[in-house]
Amino acid sequence: MNPVIVNDIHKHYGDVQALRGVSFEAGRGEIFGIIGPDGAGKTSLFRIMTTLILPDSGTCRVAGFDVVKEYKEIRKRVGYMPGRFSLYQDMSVEENLTFFAAVFGTTIEENYHLVADIYRQIEPFKTRRAGKLSGGMKQKLALCCALIHKPEVLFLDEPTTGVDPVSRKEFWEMLKRLKAEGITMVVSTPYMDEARLCDRIALIKDGRFLGIDKPNNITASFRTPLWAAKSQHMYHLLNDLRAYPDIDNCYVSGEYHHFTTRGEGFDTDALNRYLTSKGHAAEVKQIEATIEDCYMHLAKTASRESE
């Protein structure tokens, strides 16, 4: 049986529907990514999986136990790193780790091999108060604390938000090593570029999964031609592109605007002439789809279907 089985979970807060029927399974030693913007329902899903809140309907089993009835068993077997930094800021690095080891009935020595790679990086600062660490250091310490009892499943809610690019890269390398230990990981992130580092990903929007697959399969399934454009007036360019009849979906993506087109045989020369007449010195090129493009495309399709 898979360590994480989520089946048709619904959850609402007052009038707000946070999750509208979410299902997935994550296998042993798999890094399962949940990708989506803020407010898409990621944290609610994590809190249901970690037994912190109850779903309105649907079932969820973690490490073989039901999140509602057998929550105590789950709490012994999982590691959880919440979205915001949740360690004791007035305690030192070492004190935090010792405390969390004790809470789980273990010691640092017992599972040192699990956290060794990560802990070695923060060990030089072990007497420093956790509140005085840099963002990347904090996340590494939080990961150590979540790992110290050798959990079967690790839940990481936006572990790299607010962390510099170098630390983010290091963080993902650590997750890769934990995978070799057979630990199942469910990771959420708003960064689309991190999606490629997961074994499988689910794209989430407004409490619904838009698709679940390996990152490569998701980008490969993007069949519509995709274009990128930029000019000296990016804001006007966005409006002008959206006004152009053959352009279907146009959105901002980094320094370019990406867009898909309607029908076969898109005439780039005609577009260039149109943009020049609008006063743009535009650069237009065809590109390969990224996860972000797939997300935008699927989100657009989903909202059209619901209308």
Binding site: L52, I53, K72, R75, Y80, P82, L87, A146
Partner: protein, 367 residues
């Protein structure tokens, strides 16, 4: 057990590293005791008096001397006519005038006795009442000593101040302050400590661990229990050696009921923490629902007997009411420990009730 100890150690780190809060926690009792003991007293001191008598004979003079010799009174002047009373009272020269009727001394041995009037500035009613009582006491004592046995005329009531013959207000305040401080520290600090974990998000991590909620709760209570014991010792030492409040009853009984009261307050703090999810709310609830009623309704400042019926009911559900009453019996009145049995039972009942309710209400999840 190891988990529990690690948790308690963690709580001590939090308290010891927050220097400012700790200073307040340990400083409050000292400041309050000294404030109430010396500065904020309802004792009457430096009362300026005038004596009005048509014929200031020996008796009048002796009474005036008695009053002047008393540390609370100063006899400023002798007046001749009743019209002077208004003048000296209005100008604020004196706070009270003792009026002897004409022929006072002669009437002493008549069946109806002479009349003695005390005119007092009642703009501060409490003050006026207490120095009127003092004056009567001083005059009463004079007659008791001067008049031959059986000839006392009964003009002055014979007032006996039991337990606190000097009417020292510190006798009254010390048990009250103990009730207030222990309640404040235990209830407010425990509730804030638990709510802080919710606010910073660490509660989320603690809940997703095998740690039993009862351990979380007990380990939160332990350090504040210790801290409150330190405060209890401070207050008792200050009361006994600085304010010279005697402990007439059994010290062991007093300490036992104080520990019970501390425990009840901790349980109350726990209950507050289960209903609030922000430190500010926990603080407001503790301040408004505990501190104010404790000060006003527990008998600390105002006697419970003079409260309207509805407030009397409220007063009865305050743990401080029972504790203060027990502490007064044991400290000031020096009654045997058995006399505080009712208070002990009530406090124990409250502790069990509060603890059960807050255990039930303690959330295993975030919502």
């Amino acid at each position: 057990m190891k988990e529990f100890l690690a948790f308690v150690r963690k709580e001590f780190y939090h308290i010891l590293r927050d220097r400012r809060t700790m200073l307040i926690l340990l400083g409050i009792p000292v400041v309050l005791i000294i404030l109430f003991g010396f500065a904020l007293s309802t004792e009457v001191r430096n009362v300026d008096m005038a004596i009005l008598s048509a014929e200031p004979d020996n008796t009048v003079r002796q009474i005036a001397q008695r009053l002047d010799a008393n540390e609370y009174f100063t006899v400023k002047e002798f007046l001749d006519s009743p019209s002077d009373i208004d003048r000296v009272m209005r100008s604020g020269e004196v706070d009270a005038v003792l009026v002897f009727e004409p022929g006072f001394s002669d009437k002493l041995f008549t069946p109806e006795g002479p009349q003695l009037q005390i005119v007092a500035d009642a703009s501060n009613a409490t003050m006026a009442q207490s120095y009127m009582a003092y004056i009567s006491a001083v005059v009463g004592q004079y007659f008791e000593e001067q008049m031959p046995e059986g000839q006392a005329t009964g003009i002055v009531p014979n007032v006996v101040m039991l337990y606190n013959p000097q009417m020292k207000s510190s006798y009254n305040f010390v048990p009250g302050i103990m009730g207030l401080i222990l309640m404040l520290i235990c209830a407010m600090m425990t509730s804030i400590a638990i709510v802080r974990e919710k606010e910073t998000g660490t509660m989320e991590v603690l809940l997703v661990s095998p740690m039993k909620p009862i351990y979380i709760i007990l380990s939160k209570m332990t350090p504040y229990f210790v801290l409150s014991c330190v405060n209890l010792v401070t207050i008792l030492l200050l009361a006994i050696f600085v304010l010279r409040v005697p402990v007439h009853g059994s010290m062991a009984a007093l300490i036992s009921i104080s520990l019970l009261y501390i425990f009840t307050s901790l349980a109350l703090g726990l209950l507050i923490s289960t209903v609030s999810d922000r430190q500010v709310i926990a603080m407001m609830v503790s301040a408004l629902m505990l501190m104010v009623p404790t000060m006003l309704l527990s008998g600390m400042l105002f006697p419970i007997e003079s409260l309207p019926p509805i407030l009397k009911v409220l007063s009865n559900i305050l743990p401080a009411t029972w504790y203060i009453s027990a502490a007064r019996k044991l400290m000031i009145a020096g009654l045997p420990a058995v006399s505080a049995l009712k208070e002990t039972l009530v406090l124990a009942g409250m502790a069990v009730f509060l603890l059960t309710v807050s255990m039930k209400k303690f959330k295993n999840r975030l919502e």
